[in-house]
Symmetry: C2
Subunit: 407 residues, 2 copies
């Protein structure tokens, strides 16, 4: 057999997860550039949000005890005591039995502890009739109710969402310390591969993996440095690896034949690197290499485009998260659905089955797309994939599977 040392995906993921990474560098970016970046330091609120108690509705600020027992038939009578305009500061302090008009967002007078909505207030001569009683705090956002000064609002290692950006804006934080984007060195290889802008002569094909892989990486916030296409020669692979030596990680795609893979492992070892695994019990994606070179992680990815993409999704992206400095576990967006057809698979091999997903009422129907691992067009038609575990020998139509979305 070709890969005597092939290991399971579990072992591979553990080896990848324990790869020692260099400390991440940080950089300060303006708020507009912060979405999707990863926080390099906890964000501690320097002030209360909101900074003052605000009305959540158009109505009258009151002391709620003045409304106790009020109802349509026996309204509470309050004395109108002016208005606070939206955006205006007030130093007013509520007196007993008073009601101050406040529109949504207006600052509340001191000692106001409820706002009665306009529709529950009637004007009668000099009085205001309040036709229902209020709970304390009703229709108010109190000072510090959103964020308290001194509180850790966002933690180091968090990828910033649009809502996190909102929190930073609320606090007046216009520059944010984030981790530098990982820079990934990308190499294509193979005597049969020509750049996409060249017409391939007979026997050769265009470089697909560089484009697929760099799209996948850039989508995850990486910068990609492409070193070009290495010929199937130790010398050339070495040269290309050296070109991207400064990257945080190196991915070399191509090399599914025994000979091509030997060039890759030989070149890595010749440069002083250590191959950590070579060959995985997965399908597609078996001819995968993982190595430590110059203290950096290096993947040798299979040449078939589908195999290459699946290995990136399952094995490379978790390491990308670590390189980005993300400390939280990834949110799983997997859905459970029922298989439309039987799925054959081999015992002892973890298989990745590409599928389409259709929703019909409460049912999620998962239909496998069967195609060879060189067929990229099928991947572009698929919605996601599921994993047939090593211990399974096929699945049956109607069985429930957990599907991971491609995008």
């Amino acid at each position: 057999m070709e890969f005597l040392t092939a290991i399971t995906s579990d072992v591979a993921l553990r080896i990848i997860a324990s790869f020692p990474l260099a400390e991440r560098q940080t950089v300060e970016v303006p708020l507009e550039a912060a979405p999707d970046r990863v926080l390099a330091a906890d964000i501690i609120a320097a002030e209360d949000i909101p900074p003052f108690s605000r009305s959540l509705v158009d109505g009258y600020a009151v002391k709620v005890k003045d409304t106790y027992g009020a109802r349509e038939s026996t309204p509470a009578l309050l004395v109108p005591a002016g208005e606070v305009r939206v955006g205006e500061a007030t130093e007013k302090r509520m007196g007993e039995g008073e009601a101050v008009y406040v529109a949504t967002g207006a600052m509340l007078p001191e000692a106001a502890d409820g706002v009665v909505m306009q529709e529950y207030v009637r004007r009668s001569a000099d009085d205001l009739e309040v036709t229902r009683s209020l709970r304390r705090g009703e229709n108010i956002c109190f000072a510090g109710e959103d964020v308290r000064a001194g509180q850790v609002v966002l933690e180091r290692g968090k990828g910033l969402t649009p809502f996190d950006i909102g929190v930073l804006a609320a606090l007046g934080i216009t520059r944010v310390s984030v981790y530098r984007q990982p820079e990934i060195g990308l190499i294509s290889s193979g005597d049969e591969v020509v750049p996409v802008e060249e017409a391939p002569p007979p026997g050769k094909i265009r470089d697909i993996n560089t484009h697929t892989v760099s799209s996948l990486l850039m989508d995850k916030g990486c910068m990609v440095r492409f070193a070009g296409i290495a010929r199937d020669a130790v010398r050339d692979v070495r040269d290309k690896l050296s070109m991207v030596r400064e990257s945080d990680m190196i991915l070399l795609s191509g090399g599914s034949s025994k000979g091509q893979m030997d060039f890759v492992t030989t070149a890595i070892e010749a440069l002083g690197g250590t191959v950590l695994f070579h060959g995985l019990n997965i399908k597609p994606g078996k001819p995968t290499i993982f190595a430590n070179l110059w203290g950096k992680p290096v993947f040798g990815l299979p040449g078939h485009p589908v195999s290459c993409a699946m290995v990136v999704l399952r094995f490379v992206l978790p390491l990308v998260r670590r390189l980005k400095g993300e400390t939280r576990e990834e949110r799983s967006h997997a859905v459970r659905g029922r298989l439309a057809t039987n799925v054959p698979s081999s015992y002892g091999i973890e298989e990745y089955v590409r599928v389409t997903i259709e929703r019909a009422e409460d049912l999620v129907v998962v239909t496998p797309i069967f195609a060879k691992s060189s067929v990229i067009s099928m991947l572009s038609r698929a919605d996601g994939y599921f994993i047939v575990p090593e211990g399974k020998e096929g699945l049956e139509a109607g069985e429930e599977v957990e599907v991971f979305f491609f995008a």
Copy 2:
């Protein structure tokens, strides 16, 4: 009541979906810039992919009929007839009983219709012993098996995934015709709102919505033009609207009080626009305006940050998809999970409940986060939301709900 004309979300979504949009402009981008852009024309393959039949394994190209009945004890005897190297063209035509060595990816000699893996071949003196019989096509990717010349491989209106980029690369397409990115005019409003870089004096708060909304829009591939913060005055709102007149859509955030909303509708009408709806039976998000101004869609978004964000997610983003030229229905990434607690809600109002999502074995646990609609920090802690339909008066712990992820 404040909004006599409040409509249901269904009606609102229909009005939004039927808004007549101007024809989308197209632009040509290089392949590297094509991910996430939307195709403006069908992609028709000009050639077969792969352009020639290739081996999927390291082994020997054969005529499969020469292997019929072969097994370990009674191998088929074949004559070694050279090798095709990876990347090399061959004009060889297989003869009867011949076997040609091919590594993975190598071009196959004409008339070869199967490749036997190396491990099923023994060398004996001058012969090759093949120890199993092959199916036709085994371990071959035939010319045109991935893509056939003349085939529509990707359709107009498709947002390009990394795998689509791979398909384009395979076809040697280095420039792609895509729709221009929508340009969204963004206005903040409110006398209480100051820019994020200013320290708000008492009674005022920083502009949150501009930052949240522009992150949400840029994440979806929009360009955002910010016109600044309009004061609560028809004149100022008019001026700001005119500043972003050339945009494909205008979003004006802020304005939850009756007075503020009146400025917005008055300004739109004064400029010759038509308010299509004003007030939604939803919570949060009730004070939402949708209008046609200069033939462009205009949203007046509620001022409370959570309300504003929810309205963008549920009502604005579907229109963003249309503006981008996406013709496919959006893939739903919703998951079904069980409520950890009871959820009160009001009959007749569609409510959006922010939640955290935890996975435990096969169970997805959905825990509501109860907070006022002004509290942005809670949104940054939530994983997603679910919808309580109008016809429901609360849900009970243990009930199943469909949760939409925020990111």
